[in-house]
């Protein structure tokens, strides 16, 4: 039982990190209808930027804020110089462009920082907590608290502010939103800023939790998060979060208990194909 609960806690942490990366993807898909594979590259940049800033200043706050700013800039550059000019082509054209960006950034990271795994020797200021004999380590607690905080902020922005209203309007119908005086390109840019800054947080958290930062750390999340936004319903942020948490738990528990011959990374795609066959608009998606 105790092992089960510990596994479950790990699963929730895993799911939380998936959620932080998937969020940005779902937001971007919502306003732009683009599968932003390069989002995982932004996450990798976030981890590296955080690591270097932490090494230079020794302050986690600087690492987080600086890395968020850098990632936001990278996200906006990708949007301005790649996606926006390609919007008039069929969706697979920006998708291929996005894959090319992911591969280029991975290679650039390998050339600049070296192909080896770097360690991230930082400790987040959270205590170890004991609940009924089960230890929640400070790393786990940090992931829970920070993910919850980010989700809360995003929930507040999207549902309680005018900006959020404009974002939702633009994602439902950019043209009609434009006639209502919403500058939809500005909304797209803001969405990239928010999504990319979230990816930076996820990158640093993963780097600290696993104590690893390496050039290809984004490869698996890049495609797995695509499966997650499909399962959640393309463009549905709550759906993406639920799907991420469910996958994180399913991966840890199924791999821990059931003896499945498939590796955990294929599980997301099997779930995805199952969901597509059963409910092609995803868990919380609306049929369009």
């Amino acid at each position: 039982m105790q092992l089960f609960l510990e596994q479950l806690l790990n699963g929730i942490a895993m799911g939380s990190i998936y959620a932080l990366v998937t969020l940005g993807l779902a937001l971007v898909y919502g306003v732009m209808r683009i599968l932003h594979v390069a989002h995982a590259a932004v996450y990798t940049i976030g981890a590296y930027a955080g690591l270097y800033l932490f090494g230079a200043t020794g302050s986690l706050a600087v690492a987080f804020l600086g890395s968020m700013a850098i990632c936001a800039a990278v996200g906006v550059i990708i949007e301005r110089f790649l996606y926006f000019p390609l919007l008039k082509y069929p969706p697979f054209v920006p998708l291929i462009g996005s894959i090319a960006v992911l591969l280029s950034i991975e290679e650039a990271a390998r050339l600049v920082a070296g192909p080896y795994i770097l360690t991230f020797p930082a400790k987040l200021p959270f205590p170890d907590v004991y609940v009924g004999g089960i230890q929640i380590s400070s790393g786990l607690l940090a992931i829970y608290v920070i993910t919850a905080a980010v989700l809360l902020v995003l929930w507040y922005i999207t549902t309680r502010t005018e900006l959020g209203l404009a974002m939702r309007a633009a994602s439902q119908d950019a043209v009609i939103a434009g006639t209502m005086g919403i500058n939809s390109h500005a909304i797209i840019t803001i969405t990239f800023v928010i999504g990319s800054a979230t990816a930076a947080i996820a990158g640093i958290l993963v780097g600290i939790y696993y104590n690893q930062v390496y050039p290809t750390m984004g490869t698996v999340p890049a495609y797995k998060t695509l499966a997650l936004i499909v399962v959640g319903g393309l463009g549905s942020v709550p759906g993406a979060v639920i799907a991420s948490l469910a996958l994180g738990m399913a991966e840890t528990l199924l791999i821990g208990y059931a003896n499945i011959p498939l590796p955990r990374d294929a599980l997301a795609f099997i779930a995805m194909i199952g969901v597509l066959m059963w409910r092609s608009e995803g868990l919380l998606g609306s049929s369009r």
């Binding site: 898909y29 209808r33 599968l35 110089f81 790649l82 000019p85 390609l86 082509y89 069929p90 969706p91 697979f92 054209v93 998708l95 291929i96 462009g97 894959i99 090319a100 960006v101 591969l103 280029s104 290679e107 650039a108 050339l111 495609y223 695509l226 499966a227 499909v230 393309l234 011959p261 498939l262 590796p263 990374d265 294929a266 997301a268 795609f269 099997i270 995805m272 194909i273 597509l276 066959m277 092609s280």
Partner: protein, 294 residues
């Protein structure tokens, strides 16, 4: 020809066959597939298993391999009817990951060790290797390109083009999107299976990593670079992307970076590919490029 050049040329012809198949799916029918390496792998594994476990020769196994890959292509093409474009891209990525995982983890497929000891192809009593194999695969490539050319001329391709441009308009004209999409999937995956079979008999050893997702991205890049929906695009894209890593070899560490950067610039500034509609090369070469995209 030195063995080095022959090897590269052979790999290019084998890949060009697979890219030709991808062109039928993506270029002609407009169905994005990011899992083409899975079908390449299914062909290779089918050929390898038929040769090593059932003892069939390449020629006896070939029709079976083509049927198996085409049939699995048909089954996995079914999602394309149900789902929209974006979903299809992700679904095909998923198929690639799942197929690779099956090859890697199911003992029947050799598991992590792969399958070795695949016999060479024997033709007229000659065991094909080196230049002889290059000629053989070039012959198969020619057949595939002729089939592609015939497809651009046929009613089936007209229907495919119509579906690619506007699915609902095409269906009001009595063209069944379902039939022609599946038709394109079967032809395209069967070509990938043929390429896989050649690959297995050429390398004589295969493992799951040879058919992973990056290989699919490579195939699609070759197609995009050459020009989707054109007759010669797949061949030209494969030749360029096949030679580039060799040409960049002196740059050692930077070659993959340059390669990806080139792909990025290409898709950004010439998304139709070198031979696609409105490209610079096409205007110059227009008289030479009859056939291909209408």
């Amino acid at each position: 020809m030195s063995a080095y050049v022959t090897t590269i040329a052979t790999m290019i012809t084998i890949q060009a066959i697979a890219v030709c198949g991808l062109n039928v799916i993506v270029g002609y029918a407009g169905q994005i597939s990011l899992g083409h390496a899975a079908f390449f792998g299914i062909g290779a594994y089918a050929a390898a298993l038929l040769a090593t476990k059932a003892g069939l020769s390449f020629w006896m196994g070939l029709p079976l391999v083509i049927c198996i890959s085409g049939l699995i292509g048909l089954l996995l093409g079914l999602p394309s009817i149900r789902v929209r474009e974006d979903f299809l891209a992700i679904t095909t990525i998923g198929i690639n990951f799942i197929v690779e995982a099956l090859f890697r983890y199911v003992p029947f497929f050799g598991g992590a060790l792969g399958i070795g000891g695949i016999p060479r192809i024997v033709l007229f009593g000659i065991r094909m290797k080196g230049e002889a194999f290059l000629l053989l695969s070039a012959g198969f490539l020619a057949i595939c390109m002729m089939l592609s050319w015939w497809l651009t001329r046929s009613w089936a391709s007209l229907a495919c083009y119509a579906i690619r441009e506007d699915e609902s308009a095409a269906s009001t004209l009595g063209i069944s999107p379902v039939r022609f999409k599946l038709f394109a999937f079967v032809i395209g995956t069967a070509m990938a299976g043929l390429a896989g079979s050649l690959y297995a008999h050429y390398m004589q050893f295969i493992s799951a990593g040879d058919f992973s997702f990056p290989v699919s991205v490579g195939f699609l890049s070759m197609l995009v670079l050459g020009g989707m929906g054109t007759l010669w695009g797949p061949l030209i894209g494969t030749i360029i992307l096949g030679i580039l890593p060799e040409a960049f070899r002196s740059l050692v560490d930077y070659r993959i970076f340059l390669y990806t950067l080139l792909l990025l610039l290409m898709i950004r500034f010439q998304p139709g590919g070198l031979l696609g509609e409105g490209s610079a090369a096409r205007r110059v070469l227009a008289p030479l490029l009859r056939g291909g995209r209408r």
